[in-house]
């Protein structure tokens, strides 16, 4: 039962980190008008730090709080209207991405090679979220494929950089005692 409570409190603290990161200012890029949002860095990390059931509960709770209108989405926004807008096309996959990472970690263990860490993170939380968002954008909002894929490619560069940073964080965390619990 101690481990059960431990998982619960870790999931709660991870949710608190996710909520708090909504308020970190986005990093502006000189060329592109879309700033890079830092919050999904926590989404990338979550899969490696929590078991998959707790990951699902954390992301589900996060979306519940966002739907209620609490200011927990990037830029301190919230509300059902965002989840129903084109931004929701990408946010939808925030539910799925960390789950895939958690499943990988649970069934195959923590990868030994750093490039494996990066590859799993990149495929689950960058490629899936950006391309998945493009798919929903096309099917639900009837945006032509050219436009939706173009807008996703804009995010792809920044998200890839975030995946590299997230991998560096996981590597650093591996050297601490917190990861041995996983």
């Amino acid at each position: 039962m101690k481990q059960q409570i431990n998982e619960l409190t870790r999931a709660a603290l991870m949710l608190a980190v996710l909520l708090g990161m909504a308020w970190l200012p986005p990093v502006p890029i000189g060329i592109i008008p879309v700033p890079i949002v830092v919050q999904n860095l926590a989404v990338m990390l979550m899969g490696w730090l929590l078991p998959w059931r707790k990951t699902a509960v954390v992301m589900g709770s996060f979306f519940l709080l966002a739907a209620l209108g609490l200011p927990v989405l990037p830029g301190g926004r919230g509300g059902l209207s965002i989840l129903l807008s084109p931004s929701g096309a990408y946010l939808l996959w925030w539910l799925v991405g960390p789950l895939l990472v958690s499943w990988w970690c649970q069934f195959y263990g923590l990868p030994q090679r750093n490039w494996q860490l990066l590859l799993v993170t990149w495929l689950s939380t960058v490629v899936l979220i950006d391309l998945g968002g493009a798919v929903v954008l096309s099917l639900v909002f009837r945006v032509p494929w050219i436009a939706s894929l173009s807008s996703s490619l804009v995010f792809l560069v920044g998200d890839t950089m975030k995946a590299i940073v997230a991998t560096a964080m996981v590597v650093a965390l591996k050297r601490t005692r917190v990861m041995k619990w996983t």
């Binding site: 619960l8 980190v17 209108g69 509300g79 807008s85 917190v178």
Partner: protein, 265 residues
Amino acid sequence: MQTKVLFGSYVPISSWWHQLNARIKLILCLWFVCLVFIANNWLSNLVLVGLLMLTMLTTRVPLKFYWHGIRGLLAVIAMTVLIQLLFSSGGEVYWHWWIFTITANGLRQCGTIFLRFFLIINVSTALTATTDSLSLANGLAALLKPLKVLKVPVNQITMMIAIALRFVPTLFNEVNVIMNAQRARGVRFNQGGLVHRLRSLVPIMVPLLVGSFKRADELATAMEARGYDPDASRSQYRIMQWKRIDTWLVIVMVAITCSLIWLRK
């Protein structure tokens, strides 16, 4: 200061909306959102606008808060309206180039989308302005109870949200402490190019996560020492009661729902 910002969407004014318990407000808010998607002509939308105006006025929250809620989402609204305008079909074509088309149907849908955004954003602002975060979490817990039938761990979700909301201010303070400590050792935040800025997140995030997980482990030990069992049912210190005003509000919403269904084409 940052602590105040996160929970700053709550406006501590005394009105009867503020005194309602969160559960009924959540039910009414979600109900209203469903009505927004039921309304499909100008008369039914007019009823919804009137209902929203009445609610906004009786909350006694200054109008600038509602404007602030809309302003933060102007980019989202503009993007959605623009997508609808340029990629729609049906009706008379006014303009066409490459993959873009502006049609009469598109213009009409833009109006509908903008109105729906207006209605949903403002009712959401009314909810968060009159209810503090912990009350919202309690109301959410009450509404999630039926999910126990589906084996969803409602007790644990409720506890997790309560813990998370409690620790957000603590984590903000910790981030400030960590950033100041790293500055004292030479790290420059908010300088340099994109790669440097992203890389400077590592000395913030890694100590924050390690500290969070240590705090989580200590909290788990303390909770266990006080007899907490995740699977057992527990009593509640915070209790919400159903009152006569709640019944009247439900009756009003039922009447409005019937009116809208009757007004539909």
